[in-house]
């Protein structure tokens, strides 16, 4: 009986383990006429928001594949949409991609069918958030850092440490930082605290801000409780944060280059920096549904996403960094070496990319605090507990 069970589970394991690999596309056939993509808002623009930001029209004309976009606001929404099915591609962040792989929702990508694969940033080609056991489950799309944004009138010199948002102190303008700093209103912000501790309290032995055992996790929460006394409101919507920097007297906060670019374009005295502790960040991957109805158009789109003006123009549009480094300099779009540097292109090594915290981590089976506890505890911290 036990042998039978063993046999059964082994077969099952083999099947689940290998069937996606077998399902890999081996050649690109005739385009199906459309491709359905789940994407972050602003990720796939066809010149309708602003005329000069268009990386869809040409693709549709050249390939004959009509691009249908369904936008999703959170990683969980993306996972849910992919579970429902009916989509071909998704631009998944690191906190969604592995869930999609583990749930057999996405299929391996045959990189031989994507000629521009060789142009992808070497550091992203086999990134752990889309490559499992050497199998590629997606094509890198965009990445960006969570920078420390600050007011240049208050900070004549860029702040060197994240301590301005974590500990009470007197800012260069002689006033306390109390009530003048912000923090991200998402549980993933616990990782920022952990990263700060990683640098300042090495005795805690934190090796990754996304893999925290009980003691490390508690230390991070304690730090966030101090932060609660400094923060008058947590930010969650990019445009509310922009407004808070303009009208609410906020002078420093973790942020995205997106907000910094908009504030600078508005003539505000704003700049950003990646302090000595490094920064967290996000990296998105185009992944293909395991039952994609339009695989040929999907492959054509993945190639397009790497080879066209998309990488270059999207980087400018979103304040992010292209997965293809050449897009910064070869003039295929609006990006230049300067805009890429401003978005953090040169700081890749100092960024720890978002991943979903799970209980089975490198510290052992069940050694780490899983994400759902991050959520309930962060609610407690914001509520003053």
């Amino acid at each position: 009986m036990n042998r039978l069970k063993l046999l059964g589970t082994t077969t099952l394991a083999l099947m689940t383990g290998f069937s996606p690999v077998l399902a890999q596309v081996t050649e690109i056939g005739a385009p199906e006429g459309q491709v359905n993509i789940v994407a972050w808002p602003g990720y796939i623009e066809r010149g309708e928001t602003m005329k000069e930001f268009d990386w869809v029209t040409k693709f549709e004309q050249a390939s004959g594949c009509k691009v249908n976009v369904k936008t999703a606001n959170t990683s969980d929404e993306m996972v849910a949409l992919m579970n429902e099915g009916g989509f071909d591609l998704v631009t998944a962040s690191g906190d969604a991609s592995l869930r999609l792989v583990a749930g057999d929702r996405v299929q391996p990508i045959n990189i031989d069918l994507i000629p521009s694969w060789s142009t992808v940033d070497d550091r992203l080609k086999s990134a752990p958030w889309h490559t499992v056991d050497g199998v590629h489950y997606g094509v890198p799309y965009m990445w960006g850092p969570n920078v420390l944004m600050y007011n240049t009138e208050v900070f004549p010199e860029p702040p060197t440490s994240w301590n301005v948002v974590f500990e009470e102190m007197t800012l260069p303008d002689g006033k306390s930082n109390k009530g003048r700093v912000q923090a991200y209103d998402g549980p993933i912000h616990i990782a920022d605290a952990a990263q700060y501790l990683m640098f300042h309290k090495p005795e805690l032995g934190i090796t990754s801000p996304y893999e925290l055992n009980e003691d490390q996790y508690k230390a991070a929460l304690d730090l966030l409780r101090v932060q609660r006394t400094l923060v008058s409101r947590y930010w969650h919507d990019a445009f509310i944060q922009i407004d808070d920097f303009k009208n609410e007297g906020v002078v420093a906060s973790g942020s995205w280059p997106f907000q910094r670019n908009l504030l600078q374009a508005d003539g505000q005295p704003i700049a950003s920096v990646i302090p000595q502790e490094g920064a967290t960040g996000w990296a998105d991957t185009t992944m293909m549904h395991v039952d994609a109805a339009n695989p040929n158009c999907s492959y054509l789109w993945m190639e397009h996403s790497l080879s066209s003006n998309l990488q270059s123009d999207l980087a400018v549009w979103f304040g992010a960094n292209p997965a293809v480094p050449a897009a910064c300099t070869d003039g295929r779009g609006m990006s230049t070496a300067e805009t890429c540097t401003a978005n953090g292109m040169d700081d890749f090594e100092r960024i720890r990319f978002w991943t979903t915290p799970v209980s089975n981590c490198s510290q052992g089976e069940g050694a780490c605090v899983p994400y759902y506890r991050w959520v309930s505890d962060y609610i407690g911290v914001i509520g003053g507990r």
Binding site: T74, S75, D76, E77, K178, G179, R180, D185, G186, P187, V231, S232, R233, Y234, H236, D237, I240, D243, D244, K246, N247, E248, G249, V358, S359, G366, P370, Y371, Y372, V375, S376, D377, I379, G380, I382, G383, G384, R385
Partner: protein, 312 residues
């Protein structure tokens, strides 16, 4: 030649009309089934699904929902941080309801009993007008009004009344760097947004108070104050309670305002949104969603006892 008393049916429509006339019950069933299905399946069905979810729990280890009956999730509601959320929400809902009632009564009273003709129309318009614009636009506008460098702060500085705002912001529990980041700001915006829902039922109740009773009260020698306390107020009370049901339940469930104005502390609606949306902890979200239902059941039974539904 006279026409026959019973004309032969001229087609399908005539036969249908005949059938419905002979069997009035059939028509009733046909008409009432769709709304009943809607109420039963879509409305109560989703509520039942919600209740069911709240009896599941999340696996501590993997974060996957375990579909086994347990009360563990409800026990989690009594953790300190979750109790905070429930108490915070109830206190806010009560404060908003009281403030709305106090503000709305004179307005409703004037509109119902004194305003005439064009003035009356203007009152209706004035109360309804805010409901015509988008809810989000109004909340964002308030965020700007209350901001540190917003209109209110600017006006207070110009008139030397900034100490009033500072005074409010120094009250324990209402601290913030400006009104827009203080729970008091959240309260102000809630009151503004829900006020029409209090005024309208109040006005309807006050309009129904018969003049003859007021005259009788005056004839019997009651002062205006006595008439107000013993005649008008009791007769208008069902309207006040009806309005309070709106303001109370709307505040209990709202999740947009505390996100934009206030100090980011969670309210029930926002917690449900976050637990369900980003944490995948549907059971706890469902358990949280049951809390306002229970509170409203208690509230409605109290309101019923006070006679709010006698006019139905």
């Amino acid at each position: 030649m006279t026409a026959p008393a019973i004309l032969p049916a001229r087609g399908l429509a005539d036969r249908l009309t005949g059938t419905f006339w002979r069997r009035p019950g059939l028509l009733l069933v046909l008409l009432i089934t769709p709304p009943l299905l809607w109420l039963g399946v879509v409305y109560l069905g989703s509520l039942a699904a919600l209740l069911l979810q709240s009896f599941y729990s999340i696996d501590e280890f993997s974060g996957v929902v375990k579909e086994e009956f347990t009360l563990k999730t409800y026990a989690e509601l009594f953790r300190a941080q979750n109790l905070d959320i429930i108490i915070r929400t109830i206190v806010m809902a009560m404060a908003v309801t009281l403030a709305c009632a106090v503000l709305a009564f004179p307005i409703a009273y004037y509109a119902a009993r004194h305003a005439k003709g064009a003035w009356k129309a203007a009152f209706y318009l004035g109360v309804m007008l805010p409901l015509w614009s988008s809810y989000l636009v109004k909340v964002y506008a308030w965020k700007l009004i209350l901001a540190k460098e917003g209109i209110l702060g600017w006006a207070a500085e110009g008139t030397g009344t900034g100490f009033i705002i500072d005074g409010i912001l120094s009250i324990p529990g209402l601290e913030g760097s400006s009104l827009s980041t203080s729970p008091f700001g959240t309260f102000l915006v809630f009151v503004y947004i829900w006020l029409p829902y209090m005024i309208l039922p109040m006005q309807a109740a006050l309009e129904r108070v018969p003049n003859s009773m007021l005259e009788a009260s005056a004839d019997l020698g009651a002062t205006r104050g006595q008439t107000f306390r013993t005649v008008i107020l009791p007769l208008a009370l069902p309207g006040v309670i009806a309005g309070s049901i709106f303001t109370f339940s709307l505040t209990l469930g709202d999740y947009i305002i505390p996100q934009i104005v206030g100090d980011s502390s969670r309210f029930i609606g926002l917690t449900v949104y976050q637990l369900q949306g980003t944490a995948g902890n549907t059971p706890l979200a469902a358990a949280f969603a049951v809390v306002p239902i229970l509170i409203m059941l208690v509230y409605l039974s109290l309101a019923k006892r006070a006679g709010a539904f006698n006019a139905l």
